[in-house]
C-alpha cells in the first residue's frame, strides 16, 4: 500500500499549483510553501534530535542564516546565492563553537537543551541590540529589485517559490535518508545511548557530535535563507529565540522524529492547525487560538509519544509502541 501511495502523493505535490482553486490559490500556495520550508527545517532539527541531542535553540541557526543573507543583500547587494553560502558557513562555525564544549565536557540531555536554549536567546537579543543593522525588534525587509530575478532570488509568482521549496524539502529528505542508511547512524545511536561504550569501540564521540550538529545547523540556516527570501522580511521573534525554536521542536515531536516523513507531518499539522484556529477565532477571544493550539499539542505529545508517524507505524506492525525509538527500516522484537 505504501508503495502505491508514494507516486500519488508525489503527483499531487507536483501538480498542486496547477489545480484551479478559484480565489483561494494564493493562500493555499502560501500555506503549502510554509509547510514545505518548515518541514525541511524540522527534518534538519531531527537529524540531531533523533540521537538524543535535543536542541532548543535552532532559532539561533535559523536566524543567523536568514539575517546574514538579508543584510548582505541590503547593505552590499551580495546575491542570496553568495550571501546564503556565507550565512551557512557562519552558522556552521557557530554550531561547531556550541557543539565542541558540549561534547568535550559531556553536556548531554537536559543540560544540552538548556545550553542551546541560551544560544537561541543570545542570537535573538543580539539581533535586537544591533538595531542600526538589523532594524532591532521591528525586523528588516529585503530590498526589492522590482522584477523577477534569479540572481536576487525574488519572484512575484508564488509558484516559483512553491517548486523551490518542494525541491528543498526533497533534498532534505535525501540527506535524512543518507544519514539513516549510513554506518554513521549506528555510531550516532551508540553515542546517544552510551558515550563511554561508544568510545570504547573506537567511535570518536566529539567528532561525531560536532559533525551532526554542524550538518543540522547548516541545513537549518538554508531553511532560514529560503524563508527570508520568500517572506522578504525578517524579524527576531519569528526567526530566532525560544518561540521559533520550540515551534520547530513541537512540530517534529508531534510528527515523529524517528521517521523520514515525521517532521513533514508535524509541520503540516501544526501550521494547518494554527491557520485554522487563527481564521476561526479571528479577533474574537484574543489568545483562545493559542490556548487551543497549546492544549492540543500537549494532548498529542502525551498520547503519541513516538509522534504521529512513529505511532502509526507501530500500530501497523501490530500493537502501539510507546517511546523512542525504532529506526524505520529495522523491525525490532519487543523486549
Amino acid at each position: 500500500m505504501r508503495r502505491a501511495l508514494v507516486p500519488v502523493l508525489a503527483a499531487l505535490l507536483a501538480l498542486a499549483p496547477l489545480v484551479p482553486m478559484a480565489g483561494m490559490k494564493q493562500y493555499v500556495l502560501h500555506v503549502m510553501i510554509q509547510i514545505l520550508i518548515w518541514s525541511f527545517i524540522g527534518g534538519a532539527w531531527s537529524l540531531m534530535g533523533r540521537f538524543g541531542l535535543v536542541s532548543l535553540g535552532h532559532g539561533a541557526f535559523l536566524g543567523l542564516g536568514a539575517y546574514a543573507t538579508v543584510l548582505l543583500w541590503n547593505f552590499w547587494a551580495w546575491s542570496p546565492w553568495l550571501g546564503g553560502a556565507v550565512a551557512v558557513v557562519l552558522t556552521a562555525i557557530l554550531a561547531a563553537v556550541v557543539a565542541y564544549p558540549c561534547s568535550r565536557f559531556q553536556v548531554v540531555g537536559h543540560y544540552f537543551g538548556l545550553v542551546t536554549l541560551a544560544v537561541g536567546e543570545v542570537i535573538r537579543l543580539l539581533i535586537i541590540a544591533e538595531r542600526d543593522w538589523t532594524g532591532g525588534s521591528l525586523g528588516v525587509s529585503l530590498k526589492p529589485v522590482g522584477s523577477d530575478s534569479l540572481w536576487a532570488l525574488q519572484f512575484a509568482d508564488k509558484r516559483v517559490f512553491y517548486y523551490g521549496a518542494l525541491a528543498l524539502w526533497l533534498a532534505g529528505l535525501w540527506v535524512w535518508h543518507r544519514v539513516d542508511r549510513s554506518m554513521a547512524r549506528s555510531a550516532m545511536e551508540a553515542i546517544g545511548e552510551d558515550e563511554t561504550a561508544a568510545a570504547s569501540v573506537g567511535i570518536h564521540v566529539t567528532r561525531f557530535k560536532i559533525a551532526i550538529t554542524v550538518l543540522s545547523a547548516a541545513l537549518t540556516a538554508v531553511g532560514g535563507v529560503a524563508y527570508a527570501q520568500y517572506i522578504a522580511y525578517v524579524n527576531p521573534d519569528t526567526l530566532a529565540g525560544i518561540g521559533v525554536s520550540l515551534r520547530i521542536v513541537f512540530a517534529v515531536v508531534l510528527g515523529g522524529m524517528y521517521s523520514l516523513l515525521g517532521p513533514a507531518v508535524g509541520a503540516a499539522l501544526t501550521i494547518a492547525l494554527s491557520e485554522w484556529l487563527r481564521i476561526a477565532f479571528g479577533l474574537k477571544l484574543i489568545g483562545m487560538a493559542e490556548t487551543i493550539y497549546g492544549f492540543l499539542l500537549v494532548v498529542f505529545i502525551i498520547f503519541l509519544p513516538a509522534g504521529i508517524v512513529g505511532s502509526a507505524g507501530g500500530l501497523l506492525r501490530g500493537g502501539a509502541r510507546y517511546g523512542p525509538p525504532h529506526p524505520p527500516d529495522a523491525r525490532r522484537a519487543p523486549a
Partner: protein, 243 residues
C-alpha cells in the same frame, strides 16, 4: 606487550590504585584478581583510556598510552568489555558488532567488509547473525557474548575482559572460560581477564596478578598465588580451591 609502571589513580582523597606495576606478555592470558573494590576495574579504565591516571606510565608495544582517549587506545589495538554489559539497545545485535568493526579497526576497510567481519565474530562467539535480532532478546549469558563480540570486532591485539561471571550458571561460566581460550587461539589475542570469582579463572590463566585495596599484593603462577598468605587473607580466609 603491555607494561604498567607505578600506576596511581586517586578520586579526591581516595586512592583507588597505588603504584601498581605489572606486565602482560604477548600471547598469554593474565588473570587480574582481587576482592570487590580492589581496583581491578579502575586499572582497566586507566589502560583503556576511560580514566586518566593520576600518575604512572602505561606502555603498549613500546608506546606510551596513558592519557590517550578511549577511541585512540582502541585504534592502537586494545579492546575492552564492561563488567555489566553495555549493549547499544537501539541497534540490532549485528549492528552492535558491525559498528565496532567499522569504527574500531586501526584502518577503515569499508562498511561491507566491517559487516563481513562482524558476521565472522558473531559466529565465533556463538550468536545468531540474524540482521534484525535485538540485544533486548538476550539473557545474561548472551549479553556477555555480545559484549565480547563487540570488543573483538575492533580487531584488538590485547583484550581487556572485565568478565565477572557472577550471574551466570556453572555451565555458562565454564562456557565463558572456554570461549576466552578459543578467542586467544583463533584470533591470536593476548588477554587480561578480570574476575573476582577465582575457581574458574585459575584453571584458565597462565599468570595471575592480585590486587587488594589498590595495591598489588601478589603475582605469579595460579598455584603459587593461591597459597600466598596475603592473598588468602585478602579473600577473608576463603580457601581457594584449585581443581
Amino acid at each position: 606487550m603491555l607494561t604498567v609502571t607505578n600506576l596511581t589513580k586517586r578520586f579526591g582523597g581516595f586512592t583507588a590504585l597505588n603504584e601498581v606495576s605489572f606486565e602482560v606478555n604477548e600471547g598469554e592470558i593474565l588473570g587480574l584478581i582481587g576482592p570487590n573494590g580492589s581496583g581491578k576495574t579502575t586499572a582497566f579504565n586507566c589502560i583503556s583510556g576511560a580514566l586518566r591516571p593520576s600518575s604512572g606510565s602505561i606502555t603498549f608495544q613500546g608506546r606510551e598510552i596513558a592519557g590517550l582517549t578511549p577511541d585512540a587506545v582502541c585504534h592502537l589495538g586494545i579492546a575492552r568489555t564492561f563488567q555489566i554489559p553495555r549493549p547499544f539497545r537501539k541497534l540490532s545485535i549485528v549492528e552492535n558488532v558491525a559498528v565496532a568493526a567499522h569504527y574500531g579497526a586501526a584502518e577503515r576497510t569499508g562498511e561491507a567488509e566491517a559487516r563481513r567481519r562482524a558476521a565472522k565474530i558473531l559466529d565465533l562467539v556463538g550468536l545468531p547473525a540474524d540482521p534484525e535480532a535485538s540485544p533486548m532478546l538476550l539473557g545474561a549469558g548472551g549479553l556477555k557474548k555480545l559484549e565480547l563480540a563487540r570488543a573483538l570486532a575492533t580487531g584488538p591485539r590485547l583484550l581487556l575482559a572485565d568478565e565477572s561471571l557472577g550471574g551466570l550458571d556453572p555451565a555458562e561460566m565454564a562456557g565463558a572460560a572456554e570461549m576466552l581460550k578459543r578467542v586467544r587461539r583463533e584470533l591470536e589475542v593476548t588477554i587480561v581477564w578480570v574476575e573476582h570469582i577465582m575457581a574458574t579463572l585459575m584453571r584458565i590463566v597462565d599468570r595471575v596478578v592480585v590486587l587488594d585495596h589498590g595495591e598489588k599484593i601478589a603475582e605469579g603462577a595460579p598455584r603459587e598465588v593461591a597459597e600466598d598468605p596475603r592473598v588468602v587473607e585478602a579473600y577473608l580466609g576463603e580457601k581457594i580451591v584449585l581443581a
